[in-house]
């Protein structure tokens, strides 16, 4: 009944004619891989030997005691090689690229994690690699740029538009329409034209499959709630997909930025500011004006700073299966600080959005209840942003000294 690539009214494939043949090839390659159990086995084996899978499920005993409600468990996607769940998607797509016989990959990146993951995958598989990154994100995620370049990728700062993730995606599409014969666009999240939402979700579903098994083994029960941050939505789709058929409440947490009332946020599903639209090849909720022009978004977390959202999540919101909330920049920094102090874990600023909502809700639940938070990535990439947020004087002095040292050299 439903068209392929549609989730309710969301999804589709709104692409220029020149890319139609490329998408047909990709859909075919993906469908063949999905139907081939050997492909998934190869993928799981690769992730086991190269990326620390299965990642553990950590009981956050001190946070549990601190909040005095539900038992808090954390799925440790930060322990993936390159430090985030992004590795799952890129290694999967890397295997597909090999299958399709292409030799070059391109990608866009916001926080830089997807760029680093793609550059790593390209190094391992021997592909040429170009990464598009908004100029604003290049500035706030310099350490990731450093690593991408060391890994052999060409990093192209995008100076168009808002100079963030959405503009990097447009540039990657522009590259792809010139070079699709030998190039695969490793889209970083569960967005974009069909088959990307489904394909990225499929690779990320490894998170949910593991988490469900682990939480049952560890606690003997399914969690009451599962929390995940939502930028494009790939880590959320990954962990949620393990629990979609269960009586488990799923909570997606978007970037509330400076507050939903300020307009400076990236909450597409948790606010009433977004509306249905078609851009970047697919139909979903976008933060756009009455004319259909995309708006600027804001988040302390570069990886959540995106105007669109996975069409699958839009559908799950509309059907009532997933509940959405937003966390402000300030709440995020507070939750990050608490998690570091109490558990010795450093979630990425993106992931900390999920922690905010979990912390708000945990006290009202009973100790019999279990909740799971997806720690989608590690926070050491955010050291500059976090140091700014904490206004750490000795860090600032260190940076000044380092700069002087460079000047003197």
């Amino acid at each position: 009944m439903a068209e392929p690539g549609y989730y309710g009214q969301f999804g589709g494939s709104f692409i220029p004619e020149i890319l139609v043949a490329t998408f047909e090839e990709l859909v075919l390659a993906f469908e063949e891989a999905k139907a081939d159990p050997e492909f998934w086995n190869t993928y799981k084996k690769l992730m086991g030997s190269y990326s620390c899978r299965p990642t553990p499920l950590t009981y956050a005993e001190n946070l549990t005691r601190h909040f005095g409600g539900a038992r808090i468990y954390i799925k440790r996607e930060d322990l993936n090689h390159t430090g985030a769940h992004k590795a799952n998607n890129v290694m999967g797509q890397g295997l597909l690229v090999k299958r399709m016989g292409k030799g070059r990959v391109i990608a866009e990146t916001g926080a830089g994690q997807h760029g680093v993951a793609t550059a790593t995958m390209a190094a391992k598989f021997g592909f040429d690699c170009t990464i598009y990154m908004g100029e604003v994100d290049v500035q706030r995620q310099r350490p990731n740029v450093f690593w991408m370049e060391r890994l052999g990728a060409t990093v192209v700062p995008v100076t168009e538009g808002t100079r963030t993730l959405k503009d990097a995606i447009n540039e990657a599409f522009r590259d792809w329409v010139s070079a699709m014969d030998d190039t695969h666009y490793v889209l970083g999240t569960a967005c974009g034209p069909h088959p990307f939402p489904e394909m990225v979700t499929w690779f990320q579903s490894i998170i949910g499959q593991e988490a469900r098994r682990q939480v049952l083994e560890e606690t003997g029960r399914l969690p009451a709630r599962v929390y995940a941050c939502v930028g494009g939505g790939s880590n959320a789709m990954g962990i949620f997909s393990g629990f979609l058929e269960d009586d488990v409440e799923l909570v997606g947490v978007e970037a509330g930025g400076r507050g939903l009332e300020t307009g400076a946020h990236a909450a597409r599903l948790a606010s009433s500011d977004a509306s249905l639209g078609v851009a970047q090849g697919y139909k979903t909720f976008f933060l756009q004006d009455d004319d259909g022009q995309m708006k600027e978004t804001h988040s302390v977390a570069a990886g959540l700073d995106y105007v669109g959202v996975s069409p699958i999540l839009s559908h799950l919101k509309e059907s009532g299966r997933v509940r959405f909330a937003a966390a402000t920049d300030k709440e995020v920094v507070d939750a990050l600080s608490l998690t570091i102090r109490k558990e010795g874990l450093i979630p990425a600023l993106e992931s900390a959005h999920g922690f905010v909502q979990a912390f708000k809700e945990a006290p009202a639940l009973s100790h019999d209840d279990v909740i799971v938070i997806n720690q989608s990535g590690r926070g050491d990439k955010d050291i500059f942003t976090v140091a700014d947020a904490f206004e750490d004087p000795s860090w600032k002095q260190f940076i000044r000294d380092k700069a002087e040292e460079y000047d003197a050299g």
Partner: protein
């Protein structure tokens, strides 16, 4: 009908010119002067682009024009008013060009109704493949407007046949892979592709992407029915001002013999 109109024009000129502007860039006043200069220079049909914040099929020059127009306060309504003004004032057909979200957000039926009232001939929507276009096709047909679809060198013969069933007025043939405004090789390969396009449709063929000078237009003579000049006119306006447009367009074809 648009196709017949173009066929009639072809009796006068061997190859027709279709030009492109981004409305509101650098200003609506200048856009009007550019349209006037193009019509005076003998252009047979024009594309009027409504700027969009995410123009994924456009190269850097048109991308900038889109952004600058939006920054200068362009809106969909102003563009539609502009389209109406030029359609009334000049005796050539005008096509709207934009990305699907502009139509979708306005309401596809309301948008096409407004286009028809404004006297526009049709539209080109590069990110709307026929598979996603049911609502658009019905609305365009209801208002007697031409939906112009695109063929690319990677479009299979079978798909070309499918697309030729839904396109009206003319077929827009993209000369090569890539976005607007890059180099195109005008060669035998292009010739072969145009032969395939010709076999798929009886409608006039417009060849766009990379057509920039007299030599390119000469190459297309006898191969395509229309040459599309997009990025190059924006470059001309940027480098020489509006005054440069008329001589540039006139220089693309030999003067009329009669």
């Amino acid at each position: 009908m648009l196709a017949e109109h173009l066929r009639t024009k072809q009796r006068e000129r061997e190859i027709l010119l279709m030009t492109h502007i981004v409305m509101g860039y650098p200003s609506f006043e200048d856009s009007l002067r550019v349209v006037e200069a193009m019509v005076e220079a003998g252009v047979e049909i024009m594309e009027l682009q409504i700027p969009f914040s995410e123009p994924i099929a456009d190269g850097p020059v048109i991308l900038h024009a889109n952004q600058r127009s939006l920054q200068a306060g362009s809106s969909v309504e102003k563009c539609l008013e502009f389209g109406e003004e030029v359609a009334k004032r000049f005796d050539i057909p005008f096509l709207l060009m934009s990305y699907y979200n502009i139509l979708f957000k306005y309401g596809v039926d309301a948008f096409t109704k407004r286009m028809a009232e404004a006297g526009l001939a049709g539209a080109i929507v590069p990110d709307l493949p026929p598979e996603e276009a049911d609502e658009y096709l019905a609305a365009m047909a209801a208002h007697d407007l031409s939906p112009v679809f695109i063929l690319s060198p990677r479009t299979t013969d079978e798909r070309m046949a499918q697309i030729s069933k839904v396109t009206q007025g003319l077929v827009y043939c993209v000369a090569r892979k890539g976005v607007t405004g890059q180099e195109t090789s005008f060669s035998d390969e292009l010739d072969g592709y145009l032969t395939r396009c010709r076999a798929a449709t009886d409608l006039p063929l417009a060849l766009g992407f990379g057509v920039k000078d007299r030599a390119d237009v000469d190459f297309l003579r006898g191969r395509a029915d229309l040459a599309v000049i997009g990025t190059q006119t924006i470059r001309v306006v940027e480098e020489e001002g509006v005054e440069g447009v008329k001589p540039f367009i006139e220089g693309l074809r030999p003067p009329r013999s009669s």
